[in-house]
Symmetry: C2
């Protein structure tokens, strides 16, 4: 062992002990007759001291030669520090060095290894191994480990079995694009990397495995939005002989456990909200309920006058911005510009100030009187001092626009406190979703999701109205998990695939093994998958997932550190039968 | 929840309780006036009873209609069983059914769902979801979970951090073949699936992560031998600021912990053996030391007579088979045939009986007298009643042949008791290995392995003699883990790559990021990786790994259940720019 103690360990109780430490030079101060070196490792920083009076000249010179990030090993005596540093765990002591060895030299790092670094995203990614030395990244990775361990402990204690499912599976041209893997031993054929272990976990249920989980990498070859990764980690779970209620309870228990163990936050029962209500009240299937600003639908109180914009709209809907009446005209104009940005896409915004005396001043006073506006205030729950923002248009679009505005304003108002946790179940998702481009319905969750009892018949008459036993777990406005009760009957599964546009042959070719399995005694089952990257980030109080992933890829799916993907040599291509 | 209790739970204390159970029909016995059904789930079997006197006729008929593997739900009262079954945990009770629901029907399974099934390997793989219902497979998967949990617990308690490294990395044409993954977003370029997270764990050490582990899937596109899988699981570990001794101690601790917690076996310090000694004494770098039969080298005592076969041999070497003198001439002839099989490849075998009176009778009495043979007995440690088997030829080949014979005989003699655990460290592996085909040396472990201190110079003069700080952990004749101290100096790494035949450009293109990392303060580090599949199988007392893998592939790398790999449709190929 190169060390007797870590750099985070020494206290006053160690004074007069001889110790050996090893680590990186965080910084050094050279006062000529004295040199102090901050030595850093994973566990902390310890101050080393060399001084003319007590240190041989040769070692003094060596100490002066140490550069940032040199790897050194020192032996010395723990002594009391003259000027103590109460902010450091080791701040009461320092080590008077009697032996110094340089284990490895270091070039000057391309950015400072500090909590707040001078390095931009790109350079930090290229030198990720240096970035990981910084506390924010290092601590995030350790935090992730802690969360994963707690997840495993909790589920294992509940008799869940972690089963490893295969990574080299079969491509299914459903959902997102698969990454594929050419098989050398089976020329011309390909494996696919799993987008999720969905079918395998269902087969485990058919196999009687009853309570399954797995923390597992999944892969989607999608055009990457910011903060999406081509490979990501799921906590994948499935149970047999359960109903939706059981699944919600178990995984609410897991989430509550994590919030308690990891964040020290105790939360009682999680609220539940119907998908339809979430859309109506928040314009979003993953509402952030840390704050109010619920939607108020204004059709009945705003479509009775001569204002054509509202009258021809499918939906007129508003929110009350707390204290928003303090906004200047210029600030409101900027807000209007904000909703008109292409990313949001609103055509404009009507607003109404609620004065402290209870009177109203709107941008549409030409059309609406005080009595009308008072009704708007009732519907949006606006108080004196608030600002009512109103959008109108096609229902789906206007809801998405107002939801974006609501989130933006909450952010500006500091209502999205990362230390506050507001979990929420959103339930009764639609089974199908209309693809506006093709006019076809596709599965909102996946093709194995069970429709609500008694709604199978609706598939023929009104497919968009069919609700599913599908649910999402939302935390602070992020979907952290989602799942469903699955179909376990071969006939229903066949019906579902037919409705999704699969020919019988395609269904057979792709899901034959699953439908066969359903004929040999499949139990009722269902499950849920958490996105671990996102979950960890939110528990860690962050919005972005990258610092919680050791070696993330950039938005082009590249690992800029190792420079992958890369070209193959011709021999390798030929062997794989590829061009 | 479809059940109030599991099928393994009910005891005499539950008598008179109303319970609801759900599971699979294991079997039913229909005596006309009475029907018994064994209901099975993951946790056990409970007997259900229906009888004419107490069961309505309709339910009686339904009970009689139940086929094997039907999924049912029953409610009923726990009653005392008339003929108790002491072999079953639930054998004191049965459930008198008051409500019976068929949750799903089942076709007759293609093989029996019993501990000893009538299904062959192929059919069981095709219907793996049914195979998993069988106790031997189900219990193996649960056992694997238990081992994985203990590994994580132990390492986490020792401050190891599990860090997920990426699966989409870069191909390195070193070692085994990579599986590659075409990138759609970077046309013509490919990711590779990791053969191990080797470089990433070294980068984590450079990043200060100090104690890393990961239970992780790895991939090798090799022609599959029996009991090899294209995807396999490693317990991958790395530590910084350690020497070989520290690594051996930590992972000996882990293995000891597993043997104790999982198998209830306490083992003191693991013995250590030099690689050279292992080869000399057992002809094998992973000797099974549960039994003796060490090699006796006979050159000095067998090359002084006129027996040309021995005289021209590089090595004459024998083992004493305990009690082997009892073999008939016919049995010995069969043994000779066995060593001459192409899989073993010996040209012949000389033997010498050690009679109970201490005299000798050999197949080469023409050349050797009693005094000569007595010396053979001394060298092979043969006792009266033993049989000495002697092979001769080229050292490497004859050692491998005699090792194969030793293992075969031990197997036949019942010396390879799976309940006995004999761990062993084999240390000081050679750094390089001569590829006889090409005449080039390649890295025995991998190109990042550090030569022993002071041996770097030997690389130029006698590369085959250079020993490495490399070690294997052997358990019962199987390599369960292996690792090394790594190079952490850029110059030494460059020298090593040059000796392995890399041009400077190739070295740069493939390992540039690692060599760059070494310039920014790389600590001394080393590690080890366990093969989890094998480890679990051996702890579970099995020789084959397949039952410990939920969905294994066959020897052609196919998953016969889902029928993968498979052909892609042209659209998918075009999108990937592949032909």
């Amino acid at each position: 062992m190169y060390r007797s103690h870590s750099c985070g360990e020494l206290r006053a109780s160690h004074i007069n002990t001889e110790v050996t430490l090893a680590g990186w030079v965080q910084k050094s101060r050279d006062k000529g007759f004295m040199v102090w070196v901050d030595l850093r490792d994973r566990y902390g920083i310890t101050q080393l001291i060399f001084d003319e009076a007590r240190t041989p000249t040769a070692m003094m010179d060596k100490a002066k030669s140490l550069g940032r990030e040199f790897v050194i090993q020192v032996t010395g005596t723990v002594i009391e520090r003259e000027s103590k540093n109460a902010k450091m765990a080791t701040g009461n002591v320092e080590v008077l060095v009697s032996k110094l060895e340089i284990l490895n030299q270091a070039l000057t790092p391309p950015f400072t290894i500090e909590d707040t670094t001078d390095g931009g995203e790109d350079i930090r990614m290229k030198y990720r191994y240096l970035d990981i030395r910084r506390n924010p990244v290092k601590d995030s990775l350790i935090f992730r480990h802690k969360v994963s361990m707690e997840v495993r402990k909790y589920l294992s204690d509940q008799e869940f079995i972690e089963v490893e499912t295969p990574y080299l599976i079969k491509s299914t041209p459903e959902g997102a694009r698969d990454f594929v893997v050419p098989s050398r031993m089976n020329e011309g054929q390909f494996y696919a990397l799993p987008q999720s272990p969905q079918t395998f976990k269902q087969l485990l249920m058919v196999g009687g495995m009853d309570k399954y989980f797995q923390i597992v990498k999944c892969f989607r070859d999608e055009d990457l939005r910011a903060d999406r990764q081509p490979e990501f980690t799921q906590i994948d779970c499935e149970m047999a002989f359960v109903e939706q209620e059981d699944i919600l309870n178990i995984f609410e228990g897991l989430t509550r456990h994590l919030l308690k163990e990891i964040n020290g936050v105790e939360i009682a029962e999680f609220p539940r909200m119907l998908y339809d209500d979430a859309m109506k009240m928040y314009g979003n299937d993953k509402p952030d309920i840390r704050f109010g600003m619920e939607f108020g639908e204004l059709n009945t109180v705003a479509q009775h006058k001569e204002f054509g914009v509202f009258n021809k709209a499918e939906l007129v809907v508003g929110i009350a911005v707390p204290g928003g009446n303090a906004y200047t005209r210029k600030e409101i104009d900027k807000l209007i510009d904000w909703v008109r940005r292409p990313q949001v896409g609103a055509l404009g915004m009507v607003y109404c100030r609620v004065n402290d005396d209870g009177t109203f001043k709107s941008s549409v006073d030409k059309f609406y009187d005080q009595e009308d506006l008072a009704k708007w205030a009732v519907e949006t729950n606006a108080k004196p001092g608030d600002l009512i923002c109103v959008l109108s248009g096609e229902t789906n679009k206007v809801r998405a626009q107002l939801s974006a505005l609501r989130m933006e304003l909450a952010e500006r108002l500091g209502l999205r406190d990362p230390k506050v946790f507001a979990p929420l179940w959103v339930i009764d998702f639609p089974l199908l979703e209309l693809d506006e481009e093709t006019g076809h319905y596709h599965a909102m969750h996946h093709p194995f999701t069970s429709p609500k009892p008694g709604q199978l018949e609706l598939l023929d008459t009104n497919p968009g109205a069919v609700k599913a036993n599908a649910y999402d777990l939302v935390l602070n406005g992020n979907e952290i998990g989602g799942g469903s009760i699955r179909i376990h009957d071969k006939q229903i599964q066949a019906t579902m695939l037919r409705h999704l546009g699969f020919s019988e042959e395609d269904a057979r070719a792709q899901f034959g093994f699953l439908m066969d399995a359903f004929e040999y005694g499949a139990p009722p089952h269902g499950g849920l998958a958490f996105g671990l990257d996102r979950l960890v980030a939110i528990l860690g109080g962050q919005e972005t997932i990258r610092d919680f992933i050791a070696f993330p890829k950039n938005n082009s799916g590249r690992d800029v550190m190792i420079d992958a993907p890369a070209f193959l040599d011709t021999a390798q291509l030929t062997e794989l039968g590829l061009k």
